[in-house]
């Protein structure tokens, strides 16, 4: 039987999605449901003097109005920061309370203050307009670079500083810098991004007054984790009385990791008003209140020798947390960022220092890549600038500093198990026709255009798991993953996973690996996820962990099925267990060549005993049934890596940047489904190009989000991209039996510096910040023209 792992199997989920049969949270309606509309702060920072709900309560159709006062009285907990990060001086991070409904102070535009439930959505809206909140508007802190010098927005958080974190050795870095021939410096802004999942957040809550059970249907990347947080920290209901279902979810990108205010409030309120509740975010609410991504201000330096050897690296970053610290908010700019900032290079001395600050803006949390795009942007801008200042070829300087021995002990935290960075860059050069670039540049020049080429080599630490590692770094939970494989009596198989698919194609990929392990057609396998009442437990999907952690739990559970199957088959075939071989779905007695299919064995497991023709004895010590589960906790992260090359052409008269060519060569270890992996890379690159050239989140000085709709926030579109030229190299991960590495974030990690390096190359080295919008580029072109004129 041919292996399904490695083949371009078409997506099982496409039929239902393309036919409009996806079932999303907003599609769910419960009889007798009410509709929730939240009253949100129109101010970035304001004291809440009073909330008057009397008129709203009298409004037509309104069933109830609840405020921060009631939720505090019921002692419902708030939103949480999932990782405890310590400052360089050993002190604990400062985390302000984040109540589900703000009672005394509002800290960003869109923060919920009260909620109105009504018989219809229009009535709920009308009611919400009648809630009168008396605010005392305070001066907002918006700019992260100024936050430490501004008035503290949270009690007890001096200088708005959550932590001042250090990773690395300052002294060793100083010594390395003292020996350098040249110090390369960059000042960078990693622009804030709004995730913009296609499906806005939503929740439907159904409280059963008889069983006192709450069922929460929600747009979550991790339903079990949501239940855990809501029970343990929110006190909404005990875990056994709370069922969380995340049905089809239309994209997350990190923005649906958190348990949000609305889910906690509606779950609590459904019990209180004894009615089901439905809430669906409008697009503006998504813009204002989904956790945003990135938002760093960085100064970084690289110490080099004249022949291009890297000696030392320093990184001083201010990370904007927004108004509150959320689940991955504090770890994203530290352990997901700092260690990766030295990139794919041997750099003997390095440190990353990050000051995380609070501002009156939407909370910032993990967004596709989470910390690693910021890290890669930092080091890859430095490396490109070093090549330029040293007059070296940009690929040669990289090759010169790549590690060639694996495992590679990276300077700051990670030990990278496998990789071949030279092969990746060589292949990318070839595919991109790197050698032919000068000719293309001249051709563009003849047409009055500026052409540039940019390279970025990256590695990243993903498959976010190893519990031992993440807990030692401050994570509040272990990040293993679980699976349960149920071989049903009549031969179909249900695979339960704690990972959650919101675009990742688990229905297909996980069925492929289970089919290979069990030797059955993948049509016989259903992948079940997204419901805490189905399957064991799960940590969810983010950090490119589904396959490398969740997928391996499936493999291991399948191996247990086969092991038990061997014992049963041996008994059925009346041979010793060690005389049985399992191959292509059949248990074969090696000497006699007698066989039992895995289906027959499964059937026997459910009908243990002998009657007439049926001989299906269960071996002594085994129990009936064929259901196995596994919890997988890998020994290490997985470390995908690669090199991307981009060519852009700039029209100096308009400043328009056209991405002409984009080549990506990635090493994701063993690939289960090349088509799905290519899709992941395409999406990641598209998001990265969006960050580099288009997406420009802007708050004004009072903390109003200026880019709160698609009229003003530029999402990249198909006509902004060339055809992506993809290639792969392969070194197997050693931390899991499939040899797989995560692929979900790589595109978004590698592409922003690749594109920006190309733009800056076209501009002759002139620095420009992301996003490189047409006007910014036009201004840069003008200043080049001026300085050229002066030089002449």
């Amino acid at each position: 039987m041919a292996s399904l792992v490695g083949s371009r199997v078409e997506r099982k989920e496409d039929t239902r999605f393309l036919q409009g049969k996806g079932r999303y949270t907003a599609d769910i309606n419960i009889a007798n449901q009410t509709y929730a509309v939240f009253v949100r702060s129109p101010h970035a920072r304001a004291k809440i003097k009073s909330v008057d709900t009397s008129k709203a309560l009298k409004s037509s159709g309104v069933v109830g109005v609840l405020t921060g006062k009631e939720i505090a009285e019921d002692k419902i907990g708030g939103l949480i920061a999932g990782w405890a990060i310590r400052s360089e001086d050993g002190s604990e991070m400062k985390v302000p309370a984040n109540p589900p409904l703000a009672k005394d102070i509002a800290n960003f535009v869109g923060e919920p203050i009260a909620v109105v439930f009504a018989e219809t959505l229009d009535e709920a809206k009308e009611g919400a307009e009648k809630v009168k909140v008396d605010y005392k508007v305070l001066k907002a802190v918006v700019d992260p670079a100024e936050a430490m010098k501004s008035e503290a927005i949270h009690d007890g958080v001096d200088k708005n500083l959550c932590y001042d974190w250090l990773l690395g050795d300052r002294k060793a870095v100083d010594e390395a810098f003292a020996k350098a021939d040249k110090i390369i410096k960059v000042d960078l802004i990693n622009n804030r991004l709004v995730p913009n999942a296609m499906e806005p957040r939503a929740c439907v809550v159904d409280y059963n007054t008889a069983s006192e059970e709450i069922t929460l249907y929600t747009t979550s990347q991790n339903p079990h984790l949501s239940r855990l947080v809501m029970s343990a920290f929110g006190g909404v209901a005990p875990e056994n009385k709370l069922r969380v279902v995340a049905p089809d979810v239309g994209g997350g990108f990190g923005s649906k990791i958190n348990v949000y205010n609305e889910e906690i409030v509606c779950s609590w309120a459904s019990k209180k008003i004894e009615r089901p509740i439905k809430w669906v975010a409008e697009r503006t609410e998504s813009f204002l209140t989904d956790t945003h991504g990135r938002d760093h201000v960085t100064h970084a330096e690289l110490a080099v020798t004249n022949d291009g050897k890297f000696l030392g690296f320093k990184n001083e970053t201010i990370a904007n947390l927004g108004a509150y610290a959320r689940v991955f908010g504090t770890v994203t700019p530290t352990y997901l960022f700092g260690p990766c900032a030295t990139g794919v290079y041997v750099i003997p001395a390095a440190y990353s220092n990050v000051k995380a600050v609070y501002t009156n803006t939407a909370p910032v949390d993990a967004y596709r890549g989470a910390g690693r795009p910021e890290a890669t942007y930092t080091i890859e801008r430095l490396v490109e600038k070093a090549a330029m200042e040293l007059g070296m070829d940009k690929t040669e300087i990289r090759m010169k500093n790549f590690p060639t021995q694996f495992p590679f002990k990276q300077t700051l935290v990670h030990t990278v198990d496998s990789g071949d960075y030279v092969a990746g860059l060589e292949k990318a050069k070839q595919m991109a026709d790197y050698a032919g670039f000068e000719a293309r540049r001249k051709k563009s020049e003849a047409n009055g255009k500026l052409r540039g080429i940019g390279v970025s080599s990256y590695f990243e630490a993903c498959g976010i798991a190893p519990s031992a590692a993440v807990m030692s770094l401050g994570c509040g939970v272990g990040l293993w993953e679980s699976a349960e494989v149920r071989f049903n009596p009549t031969g179909q198989i249900s695979v339960f996973t704690g990972a959650h698919s919101h675009g990742q194609s688990h229905d297909t990929t996980f069925a492929q690996i289970a089919a290979d392990e069990l030797g059955v057609p993948m049509e016989n396998i259903d992948v079940v996820h997204g419901d805490t009442d189905k399957g064991t437990f799960g940590m969810g999907t983010y950090g490119s962990r589904s396959l490398t952690v969740g997928g391996i739990a499936i493999v291991n559970a399948c191996k247990k099925i086969v092991a038990k199957g061997k014992r049963v088959a041996a008994k059925m075939l009346e041979v010793n267990e060690d005389e049985i071989e399992f191959k292509d779905g059949e248990f074969v007695a090696l000497k006699s060549n007698k066989k039992k299919t895995i289906g027959e064995v499964a059937f026997a497991c459910y009908l243990p005993g002998q009657r007439d023709e049926m001989k299906s004895p269960i071996p002594e010590g085994d129990e009936p049934g064929l259901i196995e589960s596994s919890f997988f906790d890998p020994a290490n992260f997985s470390f995908p890596a690669g090199s991307h090359i981009c060519e852009v052409e700039i029209d100096p008269e308009t400043g328009n940047v056209k991405v002409e060519k984009y080549t990506a060569v990635d090493d994701f270890g063993r690939i289960v489904n090349p088509m799905i992996v290519e899709g992941q890379v395409h999406g990641g690159i598209a998001q990265g190009i969006g960050q580099a050239l288009h997406e420009n989140t802007q708050y004004d000085e009072t903390g109003q989000l200026m880019t709160a709709s698609y009229m003003d926030y530029t999402m990249p579109r198909a006509d902004n991209f060339p055809e992506f030229n993809l290639g792969f190299t392969c070194t197997h991960a050693t931390s899991n039996p499939l040899g797989v590495k995560g692929c979900g974030e790589a595109g978004a990690i590698a592409s922003p510096p690749t594109v920006m390096n190309a733009v800056i190359d076209a501009l002759g080295g002139q620095e420009i910040s992301m996003p490189a919008t047409a006007e910014k580029v036009w201004k840069a072109c003008k200043s080049i023209k001026k300085s050229n004129a002066k030089a002449a």
Binding site: D122, T284, E653, T654, G655, H694, N696, Q698, M706, T707, Y710, M711, D712, Y713, T714, M715, T773, A774, E775, W778, K779
Partner: protein, 261 residues
């Protein structure tokens, strides 16, 4: 959205009778409906004019192209008659918004709304259009009076736009990358006697750049306007583009339009 009375009259007379200070005419609804949904506007009566047959369609006479008020952008963009008589007008319509907008949005709605970044108003003033309403005929240059302001009076409804067929014309737009409205759009029309350079997106209301028009009237070539400075004073400056950038684009796209003529 607040509740309202929905009307779908069959003729202009009935539509006009229903109109009041708290009513809105609805054609494609590309602005009206989002404004109502966002709570920025609410009306007692919404008068849907899409069922009024006489308001839709394209007619070409010897000297003019007349486009009915509820004619959709896609109809103008794909009309063989428009493509033949004023290809620049078809091109303009074909680049408004996106496919969904072009399949619903109408010329009457666009010009009655007079968004400072809309494309159609520039064509109207460059092509010496006459706006036919249920009350009178208005010259385009007197129709667009300010930001989201027109000469239309309460209850007055645009019935059609009559464009003068030029000798040559072209429309060039620098789209806002987010909304694809015009950051600036330049409609250049060469008529028998003179040339109109109409600019949208740059200021609070569409206007004719008199200096560029005059220079091109005496010599219709790029060289005639080479080095002509377009002043940025009075131009919009916002997060999408500074006045200085807009001024550069007006100059650049005027040349592109002349070249394309």
């Amino acid at each position: 959205m607040k509740s309202f009375n929905y009307h779908a009259p069959k003729d202009v007379k009935d539509a006009s009778k229903l109109a009041s200070s708290s009513s809105a005419f609805l054609a494609g609804g590309m602005t009206t409906i989002p404004s109502m949904k966002l709570g920025l506007a609410s009306y007692k009566d919404v008068i849907d004019i899409k069922n009024i047959k006489k308001l839709s369609g394209i007619k070409v006479s010897g000297k003019t192209v007349t486009v009915g008020a509820t004619t959709k952008h896609v109809e103008v963009a794909t009309s063989k008659d428009v493509k033949k008589a004023i290809p620049a007008l078809a091109k303009l319509a074909g680049n408004i918004g996106d496919a969904q907008v072009r399949n619903r949005g109408t010329i009457g709605g666009s010009i009655s709304n007079n968004d400072p970044s809309a494309c159609y108003p520039s064509a109207c003033i460059a092509l010496n259009a006459v706006i036919h309403t249920n009350k009178r005929k208005i010259d385009a240059e007197k129709f667009f009076t300010g930001m989201f302001e027109t000469a239309l009076k309460s209850g007055e409804l645009v019935e059609a736009v009559e464009f003068q067929i030029p000798e040559k014309a072209d429309y060039q737009k620098h789209p806002n990358p987010a909304s694809r409205y015009a950051i600036i759009g330049v409609f250049v029309a060469k008529h028998k006697k003179d040339v109109n350079v109409a600019v949208t997106g740059a200021k609070s209301c569409v206007y004719i750049d008199k200096d560029l028009s005059k220079k091109l009237s005496s010599n219709f070539s790029v060289s005639a306007i080479e080095g002509t400075e377009v002043k940025s004073s009075g131009m919009n400056s916002d997060m999408h583009a500074s006045a200085e950038y807009r001024a550069n684009l007006v100059s650049l796209y005027t040349k592109k339009a002349v070249e394309a003529c």
